[in-house]
């Protein structure tokens, strides 16, 4: 089976004049298959966000290749990149900040649809459908980001990500800024979406909470200082950690 996302040798070196180069991500490689949910865990500063930003091309990589559905997107720009964004979407860490404070949630969700040539009326209908799918009501389309709670805003952010029917959904610490009960609600929503979309939706789930990853992901990568130090099925990794860092990570929770 062809992977949805294939990352080869991905590296990011930050260079600043007068300072030694800092390797944030060091030759990592992994594959994500259709319908799979891959967890990526690691402490702050381990390079999780850098990896995600390189995959979504918000940040240029120093070395390596990113293949989305077999197409090399590592150096795409402009139109080609916009085409790639129809296959790949992201849910951000801070829900309220990921919506323009001067636009309604409906505008934000419908933006990608409008950009892909959908008419205003069709977009409105589709936004209503997406909001309902994500457990909100169509009325939320006319609200502003500061008028909804964090959990509701994150649901709207998921609706926005799903608008273009992407094959790859990246959740960059999508639950981290929410409280525990809302975290569970969002996870339940993501689980529903997985069941509903089947093999058409793969999720890359970035998280620092190993318990959530165990609950949600089918496979997990442990990132430490820019390197993948361990990977496998979450239960395996948790019960029989091989790497000293993974062991420490698990001990710190128990």
């Amino acid at each position: 089976m062809e992977p949805v996302l294939k990352v080869e040798n991905l590296t990011k070196v930050f260079t600043r004049r007068g300072q030694p180069a800092f390797t944030a991500v060091d030759h990592i490689g992994f594959e994500l298959y259709p319908g799979e949910c891959l967890g990526l865990i690691g402490e702050s500063g381990s390079g999780k966000t850098t990896v995600v930003n390189m995959i979504t091309r918000l940040l240029d990589s120093t070395e390596g290749r990113i293949l989305l559905g077999g197409e090399d997107i590592t150096r795409l720009s402009g139109k080609g990149l916009r085409r790639a964004y129809r296959e790949m979407q992201m849910v951000f860490q801070t829900p309220a900040d990921s919506f323009d404070p001067r636009c309604t949630l409906g505008d934000g969700i419908g933006e990608s649809l409008r950009n892909n040539g959908m008419s205003r009326a069709e977009t409105k209908q589709e936004v209503a459908r997406l909001l309902t799918e994500c457990g909100l009501t169509p009325e939320f389309a006319s609200r502003y980001p500061h008028q909804v709670s964090g959990g509701q805003c994150q649901r709207a952010a998921i609706a926005r990500a799903l608008a273009v029917r992407p094959r790859l959904l990246i959740c960059d610490e999508a639950t981290s800024s929410l409280d525990v009960t809302i975290q569970q609600e969002i996870l339940a929503l993501l689980n529903d979406l997985r069941r509903h979309h089947g093999s058409e939706l793969s999720i890359l789930f970035i998280c620092h909470d190993i318990a959530l990853v165990q609950q949600f992901c089918s496979r997990v990568l442990v990132l430490y200082r820019g390197r993948i130090v361990e990977q496998g099925i979450p239960d395996e990794v948790i019960c029989h950690p091989q790497d000293p860092y993974t062991r420490r990570l698990i001990e710190s929770i128990l």
């Binding site: 790949m88 990921s98 919506f99 950009n115 952010a157």
Partner: protein, 286 residues
């Protein structure tokens, strides 16, 4: 407990209301000023350009409220007619400067790299130079006239707006919502016009409102120095300049346009202040 909390709520409500009242008052005053300058021909008691040498240098009286100048022209009429040139050229000037400075600033902030460095060093040079002196030099080279005075003042005033717009753009560029817009497939123009501009325009507009007063004074200053409007055009700055040699014998000819400048600068400054208070996110929507 409830009895103690109530006054706090009421105080906040009253404060908010005063800001709105101030906005209405100063907005209305500014509107009156604008209407005055639009319909100035119909408001003048006498023809502002008609000379009446028999009545020259007449002190303020019931017939001539602000007196007459050395050619016997009615000062009140001249001040009223002068409002059109003074106020409209000021508004035009502020409009051009705001648009130009914002454009440069957004471009620099968005594009970055070498072009940002070059344009910002140029703006540093402008900021480091005494503004009015430079404006005099520019107006001197281009020659007198209101149009050239406006060009000169645009040349010295844009860096302030470019700086504000640039720093605001840089701050907006890193926000998650802009990344989200990028992921939604929005192009550069759409991101700038739909997301960046609406979010940065608040502080820029407030600055330009506050600048109306300053610009009016600088324009009057250039006219006073003979680099702005040419006689016999009624313009407040040049009217003051014309009469300055007579200041000790016929003070009203200088004081009348001076008073007009003072009042309009005051109104626009207070309006700018009020708009800033009103636009403050902390007081909005509470």
């Amino acid at each position: 407990m409830t009895a103690m909390r109530e006054p706090t709520v009421r105080i906040q409500k009253i404060r908010k209301d005063t800001v709105r009242t101030r906005l209405i008052i100063f907005g209305a005053l500014a509107l009156i000023l604008l209407l005055c300058s639009v319909f100035c021909e119909h408001l003048t008691p006498y023809d502002p350009y008609l000379q009446d040498l028999k009545n020259a240098k007449a002190p303020p009286s019931p017939e001539h409220l602000f007196g007459t100048d050395r050619y016997g022209r009615d000062m009140l009429s001249r001040v009223i007619v002068g409002s059109r040139t003074s106020i409209f050229s000021t508004l035009l000037l502020v409009g051009i400067v705001t648009a130009l400075g914002t454009m440069v600033g957004v471009f620099c902030g968005w594009h970055g790299k070498w072009i940002d460095t070059v344009l910002m060093r140029i703006s540093d040079m402008f900021l480091a130079f005494p503004g009015l002196v430079f404006a005099m030099a520019v107006a001197g080279v281009l020659g007198g006239g209101l149009q050239n005075a406006i060009i000169a003042l645009v040349a010295i005033s844009w860096p302030k707006y470019a700086r504000i717009a640039r720093s605001q753009t840089l701050a907006q560029k890193e926000t998650p919502y802009l990344n989200a817009a990028r992921l939604s497939g929005s192009g550069t123009w759409k991101m700038i016009f739909k997301h960046i501009l609406p979010n940065i325009i608040g502080p820029i507009l407030v600055t330009s409102m506050l600048d109306i007063g300053t610009m009016m004074m600088e324009l009057a200053g250039l006219s006073f120095l003979g680099l702005g409007a040419k006689p016999p055009t009624a313009e407040w700055g040049s009217m003051m300049s014309d009469a300055r040699s007579l200041l000790s014998s016929v003070p009203w000819v200088t004081l009348a346009p001076g008073f007009a400048i003072f009042v309009s600068v005051m109104i626009f400054n207070l309006l700018g202040d009020t708009i800033r208070d009103y636009a403050d996110p902390k007081s909005r929507g509470r």
